[in-house]
């Protein structure tokens, strides 16, 4: 059963916004259909977290005005730290709230036919290609109210297309800056790696405001076609007070690989879903997730790998630390569909609670519809061991420093295994900041 809602934006607004952005007719139509559905569709139901009181639908502004930065040197410090200002010919997209504010794509990649641009430009200039993949095989508009709202109110994002046989060594980077308290973001990232290509994409959602009530409805789709390889890194650091729904989903074709390296470090309430559909035979999915929760926030992290293809391999590894009164649910789901013979689904979730009031729960779930497979799971939830702290302190290390060492140590097996150096470095810095 669904509750009726009144959406803050109607179809006249949506169609005129779409027109102002110069969008092709298919996209306008997709938005309007989604908007019509949004009222009737149910909210998503993340397992074991009640989100019916969370505000995902009521807000004032769909678009906030943002100035461009005069140069990369004028970026806020928190953002400058994320990028390499010295790099000459780099591939970098920066978005300020809803506004695309910087884009550079190297000559080399342009020459190879790589497309990397903001989502609106993609809709105008690469309409057919975008239409082929946008909310088709990955995330669908009518899954629930939030995916419908996302499509209807899409107001930011990026599109990355890597043509067949193109292998890109350097990471491609996107930074989504949130620096306006009135901003709400419906951001869509679509990464398509065509046959035999390979690419690494790294993104940051970074708030430079201390606290804001913004709504973030973020969808990522990664399409890895036959034998393609995508490494997808993300470090989310949205501010306290924000409400976020983050859905990152990958679809792996035959022999394709999708590797996720996720640092989910928001300070607001967050529902984060990460799903990898191993559709092709011999496909491979690997998710490594690191979480630090603090303050009063409530979060739900659901990581899912679904095996359709034969000989597909899926790995989930996530470690989370909960401080203060933070509470989190870690759902790990490995699902092997009938026919996905010789597949392997492995997962490990570990949660460390640092205070009496912190809450963490790990739910490992294996759903297996095929006999000829292998699967395994490990999960643990525990409090920091006072004897470990005693041991460290008995060598002169202060309690704070001892806790810091234990937390870094707890997260290290995931951080050290992250496939992308830049994400590893950024995450270490964010963890340092959050556990201090």
């Amino acid at each position: 059963m669904t509750t009726e809602i009144k959406l803050p934006f109607d179809k006249e607004y949506v169609s005129s916004f779409s027109k102002d952005m110069g969008e092709p007719a298919w996209l306008t139509e997709l938005r309007l259909n989604a908007l019509a559905n949004a009222e009737n569709l149910a909210m998503p139901k993340p397992d074991k977290t009640k989100i019916d009181k969370w505000n995902f639908t009521q807000f004032e502004k769909h678009i906030v005005g943002s100035e461009d930065f005069a140069s990369l040197n004028d970026l806020p410090e928190d953002v400058r730290n994320l990028i390499d200002l010295e790099a000459g010919d780099q591939n970098l997209y920066i978005q300020r709230n809803n506004r695309p504010t910087h884009l550079s794509v190297s000559k080399e990649l342009q020459g190879k036919g790589v497309i990397f641009t903001d989502i609106f430009t993609a809709a105008r200039e690469h309409s057919d290609l975008l239409q082929k993949y946008f909310m088709k095989d990955g995330v669908k508009t009518d899954e629930h109210r939030l995916t419908a709202l996302h499509a209807a109110l899409l107001n930011g994002g990026a599109f990355l297309y890597v043509p067949k046989n193109v292998e890109i060594a350097e990471p491609i980077q996107a930074v989504y800056i949130h620096d306006n308290k009135e901003a709400n973001l419906f951001n869509h990232v679509l990464v398509v790696a065509d046959d035999n290509s390979s690419v690494t994409y790294v993104e940051n959602y970074v708030s430079t405001v201390e606290e804001a009530n913004g709504i973030f409805n973020i969808v990522t789709e990664v399409i890895a076609n036959a034998n393609a390889k995508v490494q997808y890194g993300a470090v989310d650091t949205l501010a306290k007070g924000t409400t976020a729904y983050v859905n990152r989903r990958g679809v792996a074709g035959r022999d394709a690989r999708i590797e996720w390296a996720l640092g989910l470090m928001n300070d607001g309430n967050t529902v984060s879903e990460n799903t990898t559909n191993l559709v092709g035979d011999g496909s491979f999915g690997d998710t490594k997730t690191v979480v630090v929760g603090r303050g009063e926030q409530t979060q739900n992290f659901t990581t899912k790998v679904i095996h359709f293809g034969k000989n597909s391999e899926g790995y989930i590894l996530k470690h989370g630390v909960m401080k203060d009164s933070a509470s989190s649910i870690f759902n790990g789901i490995g699902k092997i569909e009938h026919g996905a013979t010789k597949s392997n689904a492995e997962q490990e979730s570990r949660v460390l609670m640092l205070s009496e009031k912190a809450r963490g729960d790990a739910n490992p779930i294996l759903l297996i519809d095929e006999d000829d497979v292998t699967a395994g799971h490990a999960a643990s939830v525990g409090r920091v061991d006072p004897l470990q702290l005693y041991y460290l302190m008995s060598r002169g290390i202060s309690q704070k420093e001892a806790e810091r060492l234990v937390i870094h140590g707890f997260l290290a097996p995931v951080v050290n295994a992250l496939p992308i150096e830049g994400v590893k470095r950024q995450l270490t810095a964010v963890i340092e900041r959050k556990v201090k």
């Binding site: 006072p386 004897l387 470990q388 005693y390 302190m393 060598r395 202060s398 140590g409 290290a412």
Partner: protein, 261 residues
């Protein structure tokens, strides 16, 4: 200048409401090596834990001072910074923290900010101590005590002792579970520390360790008290005759804590 003095006076300690130590008196000075011997369950390890500030042990009476400063008022890390060290019977395993990172944090905790030990100097020092203790140099990069064998853990405790150079060290059953070669190495490390500025309290069941480290003073604990003290010859007599003669001399039937005479 002469070393530090650790003074324990009439110390009473309880765990979960049960009194284990019932008035321990002891003084350890720089330059001295003391050994506390005694059968199981007489309060030896409780004494070491209480000195270091183990969270489960409650001091219910008496005092511990280091050079006149009240140790019982200090947090665990402050006790270490004041110059105390405890080689633990069961060192914790800490995943994800390398031995080297841990030891560097420990050394730097004693330094003024901005005056930390340089990485090169630290590595040189650590390598040389590890070689001295015949440890595999790879152990610097292994996670602290994780997957270490019993003998490796004990060596690692002595490595920490040599790196941190405390004024007074307590070694709680550093010899248990060691084969003779490891025992010799551990003893070599402790003997290397010997000097005017270093006082040591060795807690052990066995005379065996004292063949390699000659103590200046030997104490016997029973029923939560030091019941007899003497020189190195006391340890030898315990080795050949056991504890029964002391029990007879003092009229003790059961030496463990809670069995009053």
């Amino acid at each position: 200048m002469a070393g530090s003095v650790l003074t324990i006076k009439d110390l009473h300690v309880a765990i979960e409401g049960k009194e284990i130590l019932k008035g321990v008196n002891l003084e350890i000075k720089g330059g001295e090596i003391h050994a506390i011997m005694g059968p199981n369950g007489t309060g030896k390890s409780t004494l070491s834990s209480a000195i270091m500030g183990h969270p489960k042990y409650e001091v219910t009476g008496g005092s511990i001072t280091l050079d006149g400063k009240d140790v019982l008022e200090m947090e665990v890390d402050e006790r270490a910074q004041a110059g105390l060290f405890l080689a633990m019977q069961y060192p914790s395993e800490i995943s994800g923290v390398t031995n080297a990172d841990f030891l560097r944090s420990a050394i730097n905790s004693r330094m003024e900010e901005g005056n930390e030990i340089s990485l090169m100097k630290f590595i040189r020092k650590m390598d040389s101590k590890m070689e001295f203790l015949e440890m595999d140099l790879d152990m610097a990069q292994r996670y602290l005590n994780e997957g270490f064998s019993g003998g490796e853990k004990k060596r690692n405790e002595i490595l920490q002792l040599m790196m941190l150079q405390p004024k007074i060290a307590i070694l709680d059953e550093i010899d248990s579970g060691l084969d003779i070669d490891a025992l010799k190495v551990v003893s070599k490390g402790i003997n290397e520390m010997r000097g005017e500025d270093f006082g040591c309290l060795i807690i052990t069941h066995y005379q065996r360790l004292l063949n390699y480290i000659t103590p200046d003073h030997v104490h016997v604990m029973m029923q939560g008290r030091v019941v007899k003290s003497g020189g190195p010859e006391l340890a030898q007599r315990l080795e050949s005759e056991g504890y029964d003669w002391i029990k007879q001399e003092l009229g003790i039937e059961d030496e463990t804590v809670g069995q009053e005479a």
